[in-house]
């Protein structure tokens, strides 16, 4: 059932600013999506310095 099953089924906490409202969990999902995108852009890709084939 999941180790944190009890915690996950407590009442959700929401960020509520004016008409904007989002659960902490959804916020975590959205932020991790942005984070993953950002990291994918800036992290060096392994082996990218040495091009193998030739022109």
């Amino acid at each position: 059932m999941g180790i944190f099953h009890h915690f996950m089924n407590l009442k959700a906490v929401y960020i509520h600013i004016g008409w904007f409202q989002m659960s902490i969990t959804n916020l975590v999902v959205v932020l991790s999506m942005l984070l993953v995108f950002g990291l994918a852009l800036v992290l060096p890709f392994p082996g990218s310095k040495k091009g193998k084939g030739q022109k």
Binding site: G2, V29, V36, F37, G51, K52, G53
Partner: protein, 211 residues
């Protein structure tokens, strides 16, 4: 080497078009252009991999039935895999979409690759939605009650009745996955056939433009 009769044969035409556009070297290449060197290129494959996990866990669930996961701890685990894989699927697909947008990846006659990708995105939302309707729990009761108004409002409800559990489970495990599968297959074959889009400024020198 082909005679006139062979040239007219549909089978011959199909084989030739296939060989021309997607020879097996293009389908399963062992090299990629030098510019294919960024983590952003991982997300298309990550989306496909998530889809694989979704299909495998979904098949398992469909063999056991829609209510299995309420009373079996194995069932709950398989349902959880299905649930989290869907979250990964959408996260990776959106990152993939952002990446392709900022690369303007539709350049060089790759418009249909973009179109099929966007169709897969929209179709996946519909498929996931039908999944939420067949959870056979409070969430699916509420979502079906609430969503019916949206579909009814534009007449779609007459053919797509979200409160009809039987219809939703059939669409979720049969029709929609086939549609997603076919669109995804076409998308991947287009990517392989057209190749990965070159950088935006790759041909500036050839075209004599300033940096």
């Amino acid at each position: 080497m082909s005679t006139g009769i062979e040239k007219e044969m549909w089978t011959t035409k199909l084989r030739k078009a296939w060989q021309k556009n997607l020879p097996v070297e293009k389908l399963l290449p062992d090299t990629q252009p030098a510019y294919v060197a960024s983590w952003i290129y991982m997300f298309g494959v990550a989306t496909l991999a998530s889809l694989g996990v979704i299909i495998a866990s979904g098949l398992w669930l469909s063999f056991e039935g829609a209510s299995w996961y309420h009373y079996s701890s194995v069932g709950h685990f398989v349902n959880s895999i299905h649930f989290w894989a869907v979250q990964f699927f959408f996260i990776f697909m959106v990152v993939h979409l952002w990446g392709k947008f900022w690369m303007a990846a539709w350049r060089g006659k790759r418009m249909m690759t973009w179109v099929t990708g966007a169709l897969a995105f929209v179709g996946s939302i519909a498929t996931a939605f039908t999944g939420y309707l067949i959870q056979t729990n409070f969430d699916s009761q509420w979502i079906s009650y609430e969503a019916k108004d949206g579909f009814n409002s534009v007449g779609i409800g007459s053919k797509f009745n979200v409160t009809n559990f039987g219809q939703m489970i059939l669409l979720h495990v049969a029709f929609l996955p086939v549609i997603i599968g076919v669109i995804t297959l076409i998308h991947v074959l287009l990517v392989r056939s057209k190749g990965v889009v070159p950088p935006i400024d790759a041909f500036n020198k050839e075209l004599g433009e300033r940096k």
